[in-house]
Amino acid sequence: MTNLLKETSHTSEQLKTMLYDMMVIRSFEEMVEKLFQQGKIHGTMHLCIGQEATAVGACVPLTIEDKITSNHRGHGHSIAKGTKVKGMMAELLGKETGYCKGKGGSMHIADLDVGNLGANGIVAAGLPLGVGAALTSKMKKLGYVVVCFFGDGASNEGAFHEALNLAAVWDLPVVFFCENNLYGMSASIKEMTRVENIADRGAAYGIPGVIVDGNDVLAVAEATQKAVERARTGEGPTLIEAHTYRWRGHSRSDARKYRTREEEKEWRKMRDPIALFKEQLLKAGVLTGDEFSDMEQQVANEMDEAVEFAENSKEPDLETLMKDIFA
């Protein structure tokens, strides 16, 4: 953990909000997991428990005008960008009050009103889309920046390389934010990539590549802040590689044979982004134990309300099946 807390310009309220947002993400996903086990959610889901600091940290420097594109593991990104858990929960339950009216589910949550251009079921697809959103910003002089979230596995897709090159040659306001959680589904990034760091690939496209501890929310916020400023002032894109770890399997069917329980335990015990940040705030006197307990209660209430809202919402009418195919 860095000494960033001493140097940070964030107010206590902002720091507590960061912690709170991370807690909301984890609580949301734990609830979703429970509902899934109860058979209330069908299909599949990709949980980001353990990665909360990347989502929250990267969204700290963003305004509501700024945009994100996300991937299949996108619940955290959505929440961090300001998408509300009620509508997300309703979407996962397939209800008409969900963000996508029950037609998208976990992998397609989008909330354009807060600049969330959507999760994506296709690995690396969010990068070219984000580049396009950044082109709009540049052509219309709108001043917003786009953060594209993707995983280590996506860095081996052609779309990753083409998107970085395109954004670089056009100096577009994009931050390519790689959450390197060490595995693309089951494949270790070490086995699938010869370069040591994904950030090194930035050099191939003439853009900065930055490595950051993805479980240190302040470090993530600081690295992203610099990249966002660079983008906003017309200097072009940055590639950020944040080291993190997903505690759960890739999706519901994952027996996690490709990694050891020891490795998992180490990340959970030693590098839990929420526990680390909480300790930091307690130590610095920014947060009291009572305040933390209140926050836990508040998060729990928020989740209960979200589930109640989702469960009491209507199923979409059958007549919506053929709606919204064309504008």
Binding site: Y99, H108, L112, A133, M139, E162, L166, D324, I325, F326
Partner: protein, 329 residues
């Protein structure tokens, strides 16, 4: 239409895009070598001089990125026209068209729209061989959420391009390479041909030919020959595959009682199969005096040798022979 001039199909498309770019500053074009080079076929010649490099954006050779970029720009308020140099290269852009552009609105519960035009020079006959000559429009027509346009002459090309640019959905605009230099009367003024409106290119009473793209022109030539034999052919050009104007087609078949569907794409699984099925499933079936016939490309990659290349797809004589068969002659 007071101010008529002769323009080529290529010039008509350029004029349509340029007029739209003058009218609406959100419209811009991007693609490979479309700047000072003017595009592989010269279609964008002069556009960068008028609109500048910001709105006539020369891109890297990166179909996967530029297609996604066009979709992302469309989602956020621009109206991009993406030139794919040869329609065959759209395979490298397929994810962005099929998985992203086509589904975005639906997946997001109606909260976005993707007003992008993807221009696709297609078809055989120019000696470009198997990877530069295909007609794969049926792939696109199969995907819910995409509109598919195939103009057969300069007049239609201008009006359909206007409609495509003004449409709030992804539109795949197939241009036939052999038609680029064909001339036709094109009004100087602004006009739009609505997507989903077929055109009766020639009236006749004995046989309906439903033909697409360059096959419309070949069907019209065949009709001239057949007229001399006393066979009056009606030629219908759907102009857009999605949406399809079923009414115009069915009314014609009802009148003639015989139908031949002609398309350049491989006959097996081509869009003509959809048109034939649509007729067979309709009430008009009872009016048919003969089985519905289809004439399409052979199930082969397009070969290089000019004689073989011609033999791979329907020609005027093939259409004439099929029509005679339909009339038992």
């Amino acid at each position: 239409m007071n101010d008529m001039r002769e323009l080529t199909y290529l010039e008509a498309i350029r004029e349509s895009m340029s007029e739209e770019m003058r009218r609406d500053e959100d419209v811009f074009i991007m693609g490979e070598d479309i700047g000072v080079y003017g595009g592989a076929f010269g279609l964008t010649n002069g556009m960068i001089e008028e609109f500048g490099p910001e709105r006539v954006r020369n891109t890297p050779i990166s179909e996967a990125a530029i297609s996604g970029c066009a979709v992302g720009a469309a989602m956020t308020g621009m109206r991009p026209i993406l030139e794919i140099q040869f329609s065959d290269f759209v395979m490298i852009a397929m994810d962005n068209i099929v998985n992203q552009a086509a589904k975005m609105r639906y997946m997001f519960g109606g909260k976005t729209s993707v007003p992008v035009v993807v221009r696709l020079p297609g078809g055989s006959g120019a000696g470009f061989a198997a990877q530069h000559s295909q007609s794969l429009e049926a792939w696109m027509a199969h995907v819910p959420g995409l509109k598919v346009v195939q103009p057969s002459n300069a007049y239609d090309a201008k009006g359909l391009m206007k409609a495509a640019i003004r449409d709030n959905n992804p539109v795949l605009f197939y241009e036939h390479k052999l038609l680029y230099n064909t001339k036709g009367e094109v009004p100087a003024e602004d006009y739009e041909i609505p997507l989903g409106q077929a055109d009766i290119k020639r009236e006749g009473s004995h046989i309906t030919i439903v033909a697409t793209a360059i096959m419309v022109n070949r069907a019209l030539e065949a009709a001239e020959i057949l007229a001399k034999e006393g066979i009056e052919v009606e030629v219908i050009d759907p102009r857009t595959l999605v949406p399809l104007d079923t009414e115009t087609i069915l009314n014609s078949v009802k009148k003639t009682s015989r139908v031949l569907v002609v398309y350049e794409a491989v006959k097996r699984g081509g869009y003509g199969a959809e048109i034939a099925s649509m007729i067979a499933e309709s009430d008009v079936f009872d009016y048919l005096d003969a089985p519905i016939r289809r004439l399409g490309g052979l199930a082969t990659p397009i070969p290089y040798n000019p004689t073989l290349e011609k033999a791979a797809v329907p020609q005027v004589d093939d259409i004439v022979v099929e029509c005679r068969k339909l009339m038992n002659k």
